[in-house]
């Protein structure tokens, strides 16, 4: 094991490279999560549509994502998309979005269905259409309820972005393993990269908590 002072020394000597990796990790995570939210919402609507074919499509998608390893999905996206001249960054971002979208779809489906059906009836009784009631009455409440599990999924998404290292993206984990093997000092760099991930996870949980607080004024 490397000594603590050594790890700290290396930490300060390498922070500029790690920060660059961290920015890339943040970018790919943020973009993939953002896209995944839309994918998730879309498939959640398919699942609650009541239309058999649409439900079946959503089920197939979720089954596909759950049933295959993320690393396989990322490689399929990478080899599939780079052959259409789409950058490695975007192929990973879309691969992660495709993956997280399935879990987020289930989160949204659950929270939308958990809203009391009297809410929809109240909207309809006031002359609001089904879609207007969904948008103005159900979804804001469902979003609020979805925040804690969404926060979890964001954290998982962040950590999963480390798999981008395997297609050569120079994000946090790749920085650590590359520098570690160059210096024959893997453990030091792995400990350092763990600190960066902990920091990012902490950041996400703070943002989610702030959002929850902001949305809980009505309690």
């Amino acid at each position: 094991m490397p000594s603590l002072t050594h790890v700290i020394d290396v930490f300060f000597a390498t922070y500029d490279v790690f920060l660059k990796g961290m920015m890339l990790t943040l970018q790919v995570t943020a973009i993939s999560i953002l896209i995944a939210i839309f994918i998730g919402l879309f498939f959640a609507f398919l699942k609650i549509s009541g239309v058999k074919v649409l439900q079946w499509i959503a089920d197939a998608y979720i089954y596909l994502v759950r049933g295959t390893p993320l690393i396989v999905q990322i490689f399929i996206f990478y080899f599939g998309m780079t052959s259409f001249n789409i950058s490695a960054f975007w192929s990973v971002a879309l691969g992660l979005a495709f993956h997280n979208g399935a879990y987020i779809a289930e989160i949204f489906r659950g929270t939308i269905q958990s809203i009391d059906k009297g809410q929809m009836e109240a909207g309809r009784s006031l002359g609001m259409s089904r879609s207007l009631s969904m948008r103005r009455i159900i979804l804001p409440q469902a979003f609020r309820r979805a925040l804690p599990p969404l926060g979890n999924q964001f954290i998982i998404g962040l950590k999963d972005s480390s798999l981008a290292a395997f297609i050569g993206m120079y994000e946090l984990f790749n920085v650590a393993t590359t520098m570690g093997s160059n210096d024959f000092d893997n453990m030091t760099y792995l400990l350092i990269v763990a600190v960066y991930y902990l920091f990012l996870v902490y950041l996400i949980s703070i943002v989610v908590r702030l959002l929850e607080k902001k949305l809980s004024v009505s309690d």
Binding site: D116, E121, R124, S125, G127, S129, L215, S218, D219
Partner: protein, 245 residues
Amino acid sequence: MDGRDMIEVKKLNKSFGDLHVLKDVDINVKESDVVCLIGASGSGKSTLLRCLNFLEIKDNGQIIIEGEEINADSHDLNKVRQKIGMVFQHFNLFPHKNVIENIMEAPVHVKGVSKEQAIKEAKELLAKVGLADKEKVYPSKLSGGQKQRVAIARALAMKPDIMLFDEPTSALDPELVGEVLTTMKELAEEGMTMVVVTHEMGFAREVADWVVYMHGGRIVEVGRPEEFFENPTEERTREFLSNIF
């Protein structure tokens, strides 16, 4: 009795699966009438009420609102419902919106009323139901009676011609029932056409123009409150009344 017909229901039938909930129901509500639907739970009175604003869709029979027969497939029900306010047993206020936002929601987003106008009208309605000081409060901070009065104001904000009440006081603590009934009574005195599913016999006796007793999905007896409560003609009605008094 000379008012125009607001609601006419003819031979209305409704089933849920094998359960035949409404059987050849006829009912007629004239302008400014207050009709109280009473009966044991499971008698079909709530289902009848919900058919009137098409939250439940009838199997067959006719529902005629203000002279026009309404069918789910040939009419824009969203338009029809704008004329028919509904108050629910469990209030169904929007918990993520404060009191005034609850009231403004439909006028602004369905009718396209301007924000300023909607605020002005919402404040008037809140004053009317005695909650002028609660406009910025969220529903979770209100008592049941206050919630129900906000729900009444919310329904009135669409300026409906008809108001439906589905057991509006059944979920309330006993000491909060009075304030809601008072608000409803004031509304009745202003000439609102009202159909009220209720277990409050005092309210029915005092405020109703007609009392309708339902049993097993059928209308058993319709009468003026004094005759209905003093001299019911049907044996079933007598039985029901003797059980509750």
